[in-house]
C-alpha cells in the first residue's frame, strides 16, 4: 500500500523505516511534515528520532502540527497508523493514542535489545504473527503510564517479556505500567511502540539473525 513515512525536523529513522518497508513490498516514501497530504496514502508511519529537539516534552511540538491533523483523519478513516519510538510519543501527545510516556524511571537513555510478548493479535499489524519478538529500544522517555492499569493491559499490544514470553518485572526496562512497550487504539488500526521494528528487519544487524520487526511492518506490503 502507499505509505507515507513522516519526517519532522529532528526525525532520524525515516530512511531505515523506508528500507524496511520496501523489503516487505510497501510503496513507501519519506514525506516532509509540511507537505503531507493524507488523502494520497493508505498508511502512515511516524518514525523515531527527536522531533523538534524534544523541546517541552518528547513529541509535544510535533503533536501540534498540521501534519498530525492529517494523521488523525487517517486514523479516523480506519487507515493504518504506526508510531515508532518518538512516533509513539507524538501519537500519545496528540491524544490519538491514550496515556503518557514519561521519562524512564532511572532517568537514563536506555539502548538495548528487548523481547516483547505480542499481547493482542486483533490488530492488522499483529494478526497471525509470532508470540515473542526481539527488537531494540533506544529512548529516554518511554515509561508508559495510564492510571487505570486494567485498561493499560487491555490496550497493550506489546509487553516487555523474557525470551519465552513471560511478562515479568525484572525485564521492564523503564518502569512502564504492565511492562507496556506498545499499545493500539480500540479499533486496532493505530499502533504505537517504543521498540524499533526497522532496526530488527535486517538479519545482518540483529544479534541472532532474526527479522522480527518485519512481522509488524508486513501489513504495509499488502
Amino acid at each position: 500500500m502507499r505509505t507515507a513515512v513522516l519526517k519532522f525536523p529532528g526525525t532520524t529513522c525515516e530512511e531505515d523505516v523506508v528500507k524496511a518497508l520496501r523489503l516487505v513490498k510497501a510503496e513507501a516514501e519519506v514525506v516532509k511534515f509540511n507537505s503531507f497530504d493524507p488523502d494520497r496514502y493508505q498508511g502512515v508511519v511516524i518514525p523515531g528520532g527527536f522531533s523538534f529537539g524534544d523541546y517541552l516534552r518528547a513529541g509535544t511540538i510535533a503533536a501540534n502540527s498540521e501534519a498530525m491533523k492529517g494523521v488523525r483523519e487517517m486514523a479516523d478513516q480506519g487507515k493504518l497508523v504506526l508510531g515508532i519510538c518518538n512516533g509513539f510519543q507524538i501519537l500519545v501527545e496528540s491524544g490519538i493514542l491514550k496515556g503518557a510516556l514519561l521519562p524512564n524511571l532511572k532517568l537514563r537513555f536506555i539502548t538495548k535489545w528487548t523481547y516483547v510478548r505480542v499481547s493482542r493479535k486483533d490488530t492488522p499489524f499483529t494478526r497471525g504473527i509470532k508470540d515473542v519478538l526481539l527488537m531494540p529500544i533506544a529512548h529516554a522517555e518511554g515509561r508508559y503510564y495510564l492510571e487505570d492499569e486494567e485498561e493499560a493491559r487491555e490496550l497493550a499490544v506489546f509487553q516487555y517479556s523474557n525470551p519465552s514470553g513471560l511478562v515479568v518485572e525484572e525485564v521492564n526496562p523503564n518502569g512502564s505500567v504492565q511492562n507496556v512497550a506498545g499499545i493500539a487504539n480500540q479499533a486496532g488500526n493505530v499502533i504505537g511502540l517504543m521498540p524499533h521494528p526497522e532496526r530488527a528487519s535486517f538479519s545482518k544487524l540483529t544479534p541472532d539473525g532474526s527479522t522480527d520487526g518485519l512481522e509488524i511492518l508486513r501489513v504495509f506490503g499488502k
Binding site: Y145, E147, G175
Partner: protein, 89 residues
C-alpha cells in the same frame, strides 16, 4: 501587561524520578527530616497583553489545555501572574 508563569509538574501519585533524585542525592544528606518532598517540573513564562490578572491567567490556562502543553493524564499545572511594566522580571 502581565507576566504569567505556567508550571507543569507530575500529578500526585505519578512518580517524579528527577525530584526524587534531587531530594535523595542533593538535599537529604544535609537537610534530612526538614525537606518532605521535592518535585521537579517545567517552567514556561508568557508576557500577556490583558486587561486583568484573571484574563491573563485564563488565557494561558486555555493555551495550555488547547495546545496540550501538559498531559492531563500525568501532569497538573500551576498558573500564576504578576503585573509588569515592560516585561522585565
Amino acid at each position: 501587561m502581565y507576566a504569567v508563569e505556567l508550571i507543569i509538574v507530575n500529578k500526585d501519585g505519578v512518580r517524579d524520578p528527577e525530584g526524587e533524585t534531587i531530594k535523595r542525592f542533593v538535599i537529604e544528606e544535609q537537610y534530612s527530616g526538614i525537606i518532605g518532598e521535592v518535585k521537579a517540573g517545567k517552567y514556561v513564562r508568557f508576557l500577556v497583553e490583558a486587561k486583568s490578572k484573571d484574563e491573563a491567567e485564563s488565557l494561558v490556562k486555555r493555551i495550555a489545555e488547547e495546545k496540550r502543553l501538559f498531559n492531563p493524564i500525568v501532569h497538573k499545572i500551576i498558573v500564576r501572574s504578576e503585573r509588569v511594566e515592560d516585561g522585565s522580571p
